[in-house]
């Protein structure tokens, strides 16, 4: 009842400056916003607003700030950690209608875009100038640049070309009070603290991004990819280290295990060796001569590292076909299993073999299959746990399996999330990765921007109480964690 009254009062206030179709509150209208790409978590928001301009966003924030109503930003809703999961008493702020490319400066190699612009749309608009936006998440046809900034998204080319944080110059951000912050600048740096870095990956908890100026990169003259098969996953791991040890930074370096290649081969016929324990895709790009030289060296290294088969794409069509399999890994998981759960830990690469062995053991223990897709160059693992949500209890088992994988990643010197964010999904694992003082500092940073915690509350950073209540606490550097809090 209370929620109902609040909603109606808010709708009335918002409709004083927004058209009726920009403010949704009927259940059937808000239902489509109940989850992001992590559909295991669902929550209908109190209301959904769809502003069309920065001024409208500012107006909405001012109203919510005055009434102390939580605000959750949403781009395209492709996030995989529940970052855009609505708040039951809150406003879901969709930036989807702010989708204009405001300008492309080919000489200065930048694009100024609104937050709802799709990642790939930027590269398409820049293509006539021989330029593109380098970070290329697999979801790039759908995900928004605002979401990319909020998650610091990466892609298969980020070892060489960097993550979102390396490829943006300037942001316009609205604070919860509705005040504009201009962060970064048209030069390569800005005065004061590096708030551009702080905003990137902040999961909609510090401010609302209303404009992004991105760097554009010249299209390389040529790209070619080597496809290598290994009958032992450790050899594949060593091959990655050997390529990097030889002073090569490949444009992309991806690994897939046998169960993955089997699933994708059936689906896209990329030409993978499905008998191999693992395959590696290693791409070189640059000037014609440079690619020729590098590809030859990569071939050599793959052979010396024990590859059972090494093939080089002969033309652009074959290069695209070799990559098609990797790009189809998620949909392929969706074909071989009713549901899948994508994990996102990062580890120092030297621990790859032991972590994969650990995952295999867990897979047997839980009786759940797991496909391994791996951004091998930068150590970012995407185990895809296959399950069936219609089998009672299987989702819970899957989540437990996933949590154990993340714990292994921390123990291996890595992190619980490389690029998908913490959101609501990995909030408990944050307690294992960080100590009390560190979590307190995160809360303090949030409070510096959003003292009343109205922006995406309850996400990304767990409360100390939540950590203490959790069974699975960790001993960090030999000390018990949260000694000051009562145990439950």
């Amino acid at each position: 009842m209370n929620r109902m009254n609040n909603a109606l009062e808010l709708v009335k206030k918002l409709r004083t400056f927004l058209p009726a179709e920009s403010v949704l509150h009927e259940t059937e209208d808000v239902r489509p916003y109940e989850c992001d790409g992590l559909s295991a978590y669902r929550q209908t928001p109190m209301i959904v607003v769809l502003p069309r301009t920065e001024d409208e966003v500012a107006g909405i924030l001012k109203v919510c700030h005055a009434l102390k109503i939580p605000v959750v930003a949403r781009g395209a809703g492709t996030g995989l950690s529940g970052g855009a999961l609505p708040h039951p008493q809150g406003v879901l702020l969709s930036l989807a209608k702010l989708k204009n490319i405001l300008g492309i400066d080919p000489a200065g190699r930048t694009a100024r875009v609104q937050p709802g612009v799709r990642n790939l749309a930027i590269s398409e608009a820049a293509a006539p100038y021989g330029l593109y936006y380098a970070p290329d998440p697999s979801s790039q046809i759908a995900c928004s640049i605002g979401g990319n900034v909020a998650e610091n998204s990466g892609g298969v080319h980020c070892l060489k070309y960097g993550l979102t944080v390396h490829n943006i110059l300037k942001l316009r951000v609205l604070t919860i009070e509705g005040e504009i912050l201009e962060i970064g600048g048209s030069g390569l740096d800005a005065p004061g603290y590096d708030l551009l870095a702080l905003m990137t990956g902040s999961e909609g908890m510090l401010g609302i991004v209303t404009e992004v100026t991105v760097k554009l990169t010249p299209r390389p003259e040529k790209a070619q990819v080597v496809l290598a098969a290994f009958d032992d996953i450790r050899d594949a791991g060593n091959a990655v280290a050997n390529v990097i040890g030889a002073g090569i930074i490949p444009a992309g370096m991806e690994m897939m295990d046998k169960i993955t290649t089997g699933a994708v081969e059936e689906y896209v016929h990329a030409g993978y060796n499905i008998e191999a324990a693992a395959i590696l895709l290693c791409e070189s790009d640059g000037a014609e001569e440079e690619v020729a030289e590098e590809i030859e060296r990569i071939n050599e290294i793959m052979r010396q590292s024990g590859a059972t088969e090494v093939r080089t794409s002969r033309d652009e069509a074959e290069r695209v076909r070799f990559w098609a399999g990797r790009k189809a890994a998620f949909p392929a998981a969706g074909r071989v299993s009713p549901d899948y759960y994508c994990m996102d830990g990062t580890i120092p690469r030297k621990n790859l073999a032991s972590v994969l062995a650990g995952i295999e053991a867990l897979s047997a223990e839980y009786g759940l299959r797991c496909m391994n897709v791996f951004h091998a160059g930068d150590g970012n693992l995407h185990p895809l746990i296959l399950y069936d949500a219609n089998h009672p209890g299987e989702l819970e088992l899957t989540e437990e399996f996933g949590a154990k994988i993340l714990r292994m990643c921390i123990e291996a010197g890595g992190t619980i999330t490389g690029e998908h964010g913490v959101g609501i999904e990995k909030i408990n694992q944050m307690c294992s990765q960080f100590k009390t003082g560190e979590l307190e500092m995160f809360h303090a940073v949030k409070a510096a921007f959003d003292p009343e915690s109205l922006l995406n509350p309850g996400k990304a950073i767990p409360t100390l109480r939540r950590c203490a209540e959790q069974g699975a606490m960790h001993v960090h550097r030999g000390k018990e964690k949260f000694p000051e809090l009562p145990r439950f």
Partner: protein, 364 residues
């Protein structure tokens, strides 16, 4: 080593308890940089010297990551990396033999390779630090991709020691290029700006640019074949002994940098046409940095106002990098909303305001 950390933490706690400011100083090579009227009420604070906490903690070349203690001499770190065929790709300036990793990251300064490879902050993966309460905190990590928690490691880069004492830093490192060559072409300033930007829009292995006195100097780095191919396309004269030239730019040993009483750094949009300002200019970073060396005939306030407005109009900001004016404002003033956020962040990291008060901005 832990005893050193315990001692530093005890010093910080004592300073916080007695509300006495501390001046974090490692090598002291960058003393000239930042506000000179440091300290609160004119008091600079006692020196907190973390250089004893030195040494490489972990370095595995094939992981492309190095972790070292903040007191590690930059020279030692670079020598170790070089021996394994790797480098700090942001080419940090040392400004003296005593430069440390802590000072390098705290100032966040980058050298000639910045425009192509990225800045100091781009390579920071993780930090261990002591905050203003003396708490030992770690953020980020030793892996290339990590989005767990806010990006405090990069926030520390360039914060000039005002948010905490760095203990350890993890950095991404890159392989040394197989080949480097430097070319020199004669042209005027407008042509140079246009040329640098045009090259940057093409897939060329340009790793550094510098325009001064009617000459554009450009460095090519990368695979041998790529450098050779680019060399043929770009033209110009190849110069020998080029590493000493780039070092003189990085370390500001080049005569240009000492030619005037004030050295300003304007960080602006790279395509900005030649700036009309008194004094001499040297251009780096593909046009995105314009150094101004000036012996002003006008009064200092007029020069400052002119330089700051010029930088702002070009989408950027200006820093008074070196001067002999003790009370001058060094960094570009922040708009009130931005300063508010800065002040609140400072309050959270350093509640008693003991670390380098006033070195970045008088308010911090």
């Amino acid at each position: 080593m832990q005893e050193i950390v315990d001692q530093l933490a005890a010093t910080i706690r004592a300073a916080a308890a007695s509300n006495a400011p501390l001046c974090i100083r490692s090598g002291g090579t960058k003393d000239f940089y930042g506000q000179q009227d440091k300290g609160r009420d004119g008091a600079r604070g006692s020196i907190l010297d973390p250089t004893a906490y030195a040494g490489i903690v972990d370095y595995e070349p094939t992981e492309l990551v190095v972790t070292a203690r903040a007191g590690t001499p930059l020279m030692q770190l670079e020598t170790e990396l070089n021996a394994r065929g790797q480098m700090l790709a942001f080419e940090p300036p040392h400004f003296g033999i005593g430069a440390t990793l802590g000072g390098c990251i705290a100032t966040g300064l980058s050298g000639p390779r910045r425009a192509s490879a990225g800045a100091a902050r781009d390579f920071v993966l993780g930090v261990r630090m002591l905050d203003g309460k003396g708490d030992d905190l770690s953020f980020g990590g030793q892996v290339m991709k990590n989005v767990a928690g806010y990006d405090i490691p990069r926030l520390m880069a360039g914060s000039l020691g005002t948010l905490g004492l760095l203990l350890e830093v993890s950095l991404k490192v890159l392989p040394l290029p197989a080949e480097e060559r430097t070319l020199r072409l004669s042209m005027n300033e407008a042509e140079a700006i246009e040329t640098m930007n045009r090259w940057a829009g093409k897939p060329l292995p340009v790793s550094a640019t510098c325009f001064c006195d009617g000459e554009l100097t450009v460095r090519l780095s990368g695979a041998t074949s790529a450098v050779r191919a680019a060399r043929a396309v770009l033209g110009g004269e190849e110069i020998a002994e080029s590493s000493s030239f780039w070092k003189s730019i990085r370390e500001q040993a080049h005569p240009f940098f000492r030619s005037g009483k004030q050295l300003w750094r304007l960080s602006i949009k790279s395509t900005t046409v030649p700036l009309s300002l008194p004094g001499k200019q040297l251009i780096e970073w593909g046009g995105a940095v314009r150094w101004l060396s000036v012996d002003p005939e006008m009064d200092n306030e007029t020069v400052e106002a002119l330089v700051r407005k010029t930088a702002k109009d070009a989408g950027g900001h200006a820093t008074l990098f070196r001067s002999q004016i003790p009370a001058a404002a060094v960094f570009h003033p922040l708009p009130p909303v931005m300063m508010n956020i800065h002040r609140r962040l400072k309050e959270k990291f350093d509640p008693m305001r003991i670390f380098n008060p006033g070195r970045l901005y008088p308010e911090l």
